[in-house]
Symmetry: none
Subunit: 401 residues, 2 copies
């Protein structure tokens, strides 16, 4: 039986509330062997109290040794096998600028680039132009008209942009036009399947107009197209878990990921405090809340151990306000580890905590990597975390008689 | 996505070096409940130092409760699912005598047997004839000519031999001709698929000539054919991991297993010391080294606890010379357990150690089964060990954005 056929079959309604608090990149490493990680260093009385009354474990986002991006990391937490569902780069980039993709949309990541007089690429990132220039050039590109196709252009940052073609019958399977090196011309759009031939025509048309519009804008006198993709077909959260789910995320990409599985995106504001207010305001209207905290990842990427520790302490301070709402199940975890020592996402298993009144408590009295290694959940694939949430919420029937 | 499609996609080049030191059958059991295993009894200061700065775990070669042979055990360590890839007995036997099998080869394990006057088998092992007699009889069989087919005969030990038929279009799917009991005649060769009908003709021809050649050689006056097999189709190491890999193994079978996944077989000499010299001599030319140490298995099979302990200490003494080369990642593990108490391979999970400068260190300060049970790698399928090696070597891209 397919995993989600099982969840569809077993799910049952009740009036419990589940909160999944995702502290992005929370897992870490000690700076020196035998030292403490960021989470172990942080002073976290509230998380430690939850750890004491809950059960800990370490989740593996994809497979041992595999480092996930944010997309696969969150799909796993949401209970979807990240190797089964693939989110294309263009789609992720569109989610990141809060673009609401539909089923007929082809999303593309664009990079402004520099062409020399021979038409060869001399800089694949157009000299990393300032964001304000990139924004103006995107306004120019937004004037492009293609018959029968709605065209959307959104600036992302510096030389990066998102282009969306909206029309029925457009496939999303094209080669990148970025040749990945300089001294050669950009590649022509090429289809990887028959359905995408129509998209090639649209892309050619778009690029011809763009070449004309940008010709005097050196170093950003052209662009390459990358990560062409359509929305993946992901069964909705409501369908596979029977949960009315709301997303409380400050950053667009995480709202977008939640939208991919059909969560409602709530007005989260810009701070953890505002996110707590959002939870309170919507508490009665949802069964499940996905709360995303970004800064444990960004400080990890910066390699700033002290800052990450502080961010963890900031998260810890928000716990009492969440617990005031009396969630039946609370989960604290991350979508992957982001050790300051590595300044990047990593494959290391992710500290995970689940607390409810039917936990089999373990001996752990603090929330840290070493505690989690001794925890009652053991080491487990992240894609099963939602099932543990459902079980602890009494939302699954027995399987078989 | 298939596991190796993922590794093909994520692999990236760098100049790191990985050493996988396989101590065959290293896992063990205490002789008395509550006692120490062979590994725990051994004095291993160098392995303990690695354990302190690395991460430990227990690997499951195939599945819980499944005892692997050397073939599946090593395939797992090399990162191939041992249930997906099947190495036939004939192939393994050919590898064991250093026979370099090609794609057109059908490898067969032969057993000399005794036939009585009615042509029934009276002894399935020909009275366990001495190796020197077996060798002479193999020389006789090597004179057999079959039109259009190259025939190779290699003596293995006592009554055991290997036969290889080399010709295009020969299938490798035949029943054994050994009836597994005495008092009945050997079975006739029979095909299990259409492609193997041609092989049946070749085998019939071979057996008819053998019967004539051996008729006066009682108790070894005939032979049975077993484990007929062709090389399995295994994607190469280079392809699935992007690693240039060298095998440093004293025993032919392990060189052969390495050859199955297209590792280069290096001149390893006959001792651990010579193996270290081989590592040193080839250090700059390879990304990955598979180093095989046989004697922890053979002493386990002998049930000689003290001898196995001594062999583990011998291995430990070689660690400093390996670490002098500064491998970026070192793994110490086994292909299975071989507890002296059982005098055989077993299913018990295998002590495993990985050390690099991006390990999440655990509390373990010694290398033994009890330590490994508390280790940060947890209990994991052996087929993922290579992915952990790749990750710790920085040789994987992030999966998804």
């Amino acid at each position: 039986m397919e995993f989600h056929d099982l969840t569809r079959k077993l799910q049952r309604e009740n009036d419990t509330k589940i909160v999944m608090l995702v502290s992005d990149g929370i897992g870490g490493l000690p700076l020196e062997p035998g030292g403490e990680t960021e989470l172990e260093t942080a002073n976290t009385p509230n998380l430690d109290a939850l750890a004491t009354r809950g059960t800990l474990g370490l989740s593996t986002p994809v497979l041992p040794g595999i480092t996930p991006g944010s997309g696969p990391g969150h799909l796993g937490l949401f209970g979807y096998d990240p190797l089964q569902y693939n989110i294309g780069r263009g789609v992720l980039e569109a989610l990141g600028v809060d673009f609401e993709l539909g089923a007929n949309d082809v999303a593309i990541r664009g990079n402004f680039c520099s062409l020399d007089e021979q038409g060869n690429i001399s800089d694949r990132r157009a000299g990393r132009i300032a964001s304000e220039i990139g924004m103006k050039l995107c306004d120019k590109l937004a004037t492009i008209k293609i018959p029968g196709v709605e065209v959307f252009v959104r600036h992302v940052k510096e030389y990066r942009l998102v282009i969306v073609f909206r029309a029925e019958g457009l496939g999303g399977n094209l080669h990148d036009t970025d040749p990945q090196r300089t001294g050669v011309p950009p590649l022509s759009p090429a289809a990887l399947d028959e359905q995408s031939e129509a998209t090639v025509k649209v892309a050619e048309n778009f690029l011809a107009q763009a070449r004309e519009l940008l010709k005097d804008d050196f170093p950003a006198n052209f662009l390459t197209l990358r990560g062409v993709a359509k929305l993946p077909h992901i069964p909705s959260y409501k369908e596979v878990y029977g949960l009315k789910a709301g997303a409380v995320a400050v950053y667009p990409m995480y709202r977008g990921l939640a939208r991919l599985v059909n969560m409602d995106v709530l007005d989260a504001g810009q701070t953890l405090d505002a996110q707590c207010s959002c939870l309170e305001a919507n508490w009665n209207d949802y069964d499940f809340f996905f709360v995303h905290f970004k800064y444990t990842d960004s400080t990890g990427e910066d390699g700033n151990f002290e800052a990450k520790v502080k961010r963890i302490e900031e998260l810890d301070a928000a716990i009492p306000r969440i617990m005031n709402l009396n969630p039946d199940v609370i989960i604290v975890t991350g979508d992957h580890s982001t050790p300051c020592k590595m300044k990047s996402h990593s494959w290391h298993p992710v500290p995970t905590l689940i607390a409810s009144n039917v936990c089999r408590t373990d001996a752990c009295t603090g929330f840290g990597e070493a505690d989690c290694l001794q925890g009652g959940l053991g080491q487990f694939p992240a894609k099963y975390l939602m099932s543990l949430a459902m079980a602890h919420a009494g939302r699954y029937e027995k399987y078989g008689a």
